[in-house]
């Protein structure tokens, strides 16, 4: 009689035959000389597994609608337990997948592993690369911030260049007249419902064919017995997977890049940046002006992809040694160098127009006051018979008219107004915001900025300058976060004498609540 566990396994094997499957999976015979270079496919599988797990976890919290997508991603980052790391893993995991795919592909080319009889598997690998890039493209839109929105606008406009069916393709990708709600749901569905089964199926076929044809092994076949995959090669694979995992964990620990402001179709001068693995394509576009555009956008990448896919038929012959394959390897090296050059040129080309668009704290305070003030809302509503809503681009009155109107609305329409705000800082903030709203749309504010703008405008800007607005009696605080963290700023605001015995700045303890002082500290600490 066997011990219980072994007997149970015997029973299970009798009913399912799992030992044969395990044997088939783990005891794959490998030619002698198969070593470290043949671990990259496993790293790629590991990366894809990470993406599936983290992507599923993200989907528990993500809402694919324009009014909730950005907020739900912010919620994931700030509220969900380990949410920031989760986003980091998914974001950087995509890069790990792309790098692993590129290295895996380079290994196959260098070893000539695409040669007969592996042509079909080579083609499937090429298609898999496209599927991986499609994942990157569709996932980029989902956070629905400025970067996501504009990169997608550009990507969809590129698809318009497809000869003949361009408009149709672009329309299908957009789902409606503009990039909006219908685009977001569409790309979400592609990202989480359409592409994953396509990927899984292709990976399954890729692995099946790999097993059917066996590993190609080193360039020059060596003598010696075949060795099973488990445990020797499996251990090598695992070492590389662990190394990739460590790199990923280090990258992910600080989370994904911070969310930019929510998507805003009117933002002027926003500089969209694609993810790094599309930077080469982005750079290529700049060299083909006007009607030649389609060459940079589709023809050159298309030819490169086609040549790559046709490698098994271009590079024939028997020997897989490097010196016998100058054309294939030279061409591949040239392509690799071109991609690397374009990518680094694209990475270096960063226009510096972005900063001009930011709103200063006084303007932000004014926006908040206009939005929350019951006084403005008495008359300025969408349904009001007295006055229209206060909207960007709809402010036509001259500045002096606005000034007297904000100070005393009675001047314009006696009897219908509430008493005016008496605080001159409120008035100044509202006027600053109205001036800006003539041509710019107000940015969407997160709750922290909303609260901090009011507090800092009222208590700090009298003496301190931040982003070009405020007094000059105290130091400029535009980059105060480089010097102090939130706690030490809060300490200074609470009572400067605690930190500096001869401080001239008044203490705000008692005047502001500890929570308000904390808000000021947190917001200022982010000014780096």
């Amino acid at each position: 009689m066997k011990p219980g566990a072994a007997a149970l396994l015997d029973w299970l094997d009798d009913r399912t035959g799992f030992r044969i499957i395990r044997h088939h999976l783990l005891d794959e015979p490998l030619p002698p000389g198969t070593a470290w270079f043949f671990t990259l496919g496993s790293v790629l599988l590991f990366g894809l597994g990470i993406q599936i797990v983290t992507g599923t976890a993200l989907a528990l919290y993500y809402a694919p609608t324009p009014d909730h997508a950005w907020d739900s991603v912010r919620f994931i980052t700030t509220e969900v337990r380990l949410g920031s790391v989760l986003r980091g893993l998914h974001h950087w995991g995509a890069s790990v997948v792309v790098v692993a795919a590129a290295l895996h592909l380079a290994r196959v080319v260098l070893f000539g592993s695409y040669r007969k009889p592996r042509e079909v598997n080579w083609i499937i690998g090429n298609v898999l690369l496209q599927v991986i890039l499609a994942f990157g493209l569709t996932g980029y839109l989902l956070p629905w911030d400025q970067r996501a929105y504009w990169a997608t606008v550009v990507a969809i406009n590129i698809s318009k260049l497809t000869p003949g069916v361009g408009e149709w393709v672009a329309g299908f990708l957009r789902g409606g007249p503009e990039v909006g709600a219908l685009t977001l749901t569409r790309w979400y569905a592609l990202h989480v419902l359409v592409l994953p089964p396509v990927l899984a199926l292709l990976v399954a076929v890729h692995l099946y064919l790999m097993r059917r044809q066996g590993i190609s092994g080193p360039v020059r076949a060596r003598r010696g017995p075949m060795t099973p995959f488990f445990p020797g090669q499996a251990a090598r694979d695992l070492v590389l997977v662990l190394a990739a995992g460590v790199v990923l964990a280090v990258l992910a620990w600080k989370g994904a890049p911070a969310l930019e402001p929510p998507a805003d179709p009117t933002a002027s001068g926003y500089v969209p940046r694609p993810e790094w693995y599309f930077l080469g394509l982005f750079q290529l576009l700049k060299y083909f002006p006007g009607r030649l555009e389609v060459i940079g956008a589709l023809v050159v990448p298309g030819i490169a992809m086609t040549l790559l896919a046709l490698l098994p038929w271009i590079d024939r012959g028997k020997s897989r040694a490097w010196r016998d394959r100058p054309l294939a390897l030279g061409g591949f090296a040239f392509g690799l160098a071109a991609v690397a050059t374009l990518t680094s040129l694209g990475a270096m080309d960063r226009p510096s127009t972005a900063a001009a668009g930011t709103w200063n704290l006084q303007e932000l305070d004014g926006v908040t006051l206009i939005e929350t003030s019951t006084q403005c809302a008495t008359c300025h509503t969408a349904t009001s018979a007295i006055a229209g809503p206060i909207e960007a681009g709809h402010i036509g009155r001259p500045a002096d008219w606005l000034a007297s109107h904000v100070v005393d609305p009675e001047v314009i329409a006696p009897g219908v107004r509430q008493p005016p705000p008496t605080n001159p800082r409120d008035t100044a903030a509202i006027l600053a915001a109205l001036a800006r709203l003539r041509s710019d749309t107000a940015p969407a504010l997160d709750p922290l900025t909303r609260e901090a703008a009011g507090l800092i405008d009222h208590n700090c800007l009298r003496c301190h300058r931040i982003d070009g607005v405020g007094g000059d009696e105290g130091p400029d605080l535009s980059h105060v976060g480089r010097k102090y963290d939130a706690a030490s700023i809060a300490k200074r605001v609470n009572n400067p004498l605690d930190v500096k015995p001869d401080a001239e700045m008044p203490a705000f303890a008692g005047k502001l609540t500890p929570a308000q002082i904390q808000t000021i500290g947190t917001w200022l600490a982010a000014k780096r």
């Binding site: 409606g176 969209p272 002006p289 960007a392 681009g393």
Partner: protein, 156 residues
């Protein structure tokens, strides 16, 4: 007997292939019909943009035109950026959407040109391409002075 059995199998095989193929094509076709977008263009209407006095003549005026719009199941406020300028005795309205790949161009006061931040497109004040990849100039929008409201309106 053997002959008719073979015939029967041929007919059945053909049946499975043809009907199975039609079934697959039908389901794929239905999915395609659902997936194809229903509406791809917005009808344009006249929208209030600015008062004529707002145009200084020195620089084009950047205006954000806000209008009600449908975005799928949302009723949203669509905001479009338009450059208004005097043009002889009349007015000129240019779309701020770059003719290249749709980024938002910006009027640069010091260079007196429209610059696109994405791929370096440059336009003159009339919207003609001066440099960079755009295949054509900025779109000219219809603009009119509404005599009743004394406001400039653009067709968007």
């Amino acid at each position: 007997m053997a002959r008719s059995d073979e015939d029967r199998r041929t007919v059945l095989a053909r049946f499975v292939t043809v009907v199975g193929g039609m079934l697959t094509a039908g389901v794929a076709g239905l999915a395609g019909v659902v997936a194809a977008p229903k509406r791809l263009t917005n009808s344009r209407i006249w929208r209030r943009a600015a008062a004529p006095d707002d145009l200084s003549g020195n620089q084009p005026l950047t205006v954000v035109v806000t209008a009600r719009d449908e975005d799928g199941w949302y009723e949203t406020k669509k905001q479009s950026v338009v450059f208004l300028d005097r043009d002889g005795n009349g007015y000129r309205a240019l779309s701020a959407t770059c003719a290249h790949l749709g980024c938002r161009v910006k009027w640069d006061e010091t260079q007196a040109k429209f610059l696109c931040p994405c791929h370096g497109g440059v336009y003159d004040r009339q919207g003609n391409v001066l440099a960079g990849p755009p295949p054509r100039g900025l779109e000219r929008l219809n603009v009119r002075l509404n005599p009743q409201t004394a406001q400039l309106e653009v067709e968007l």
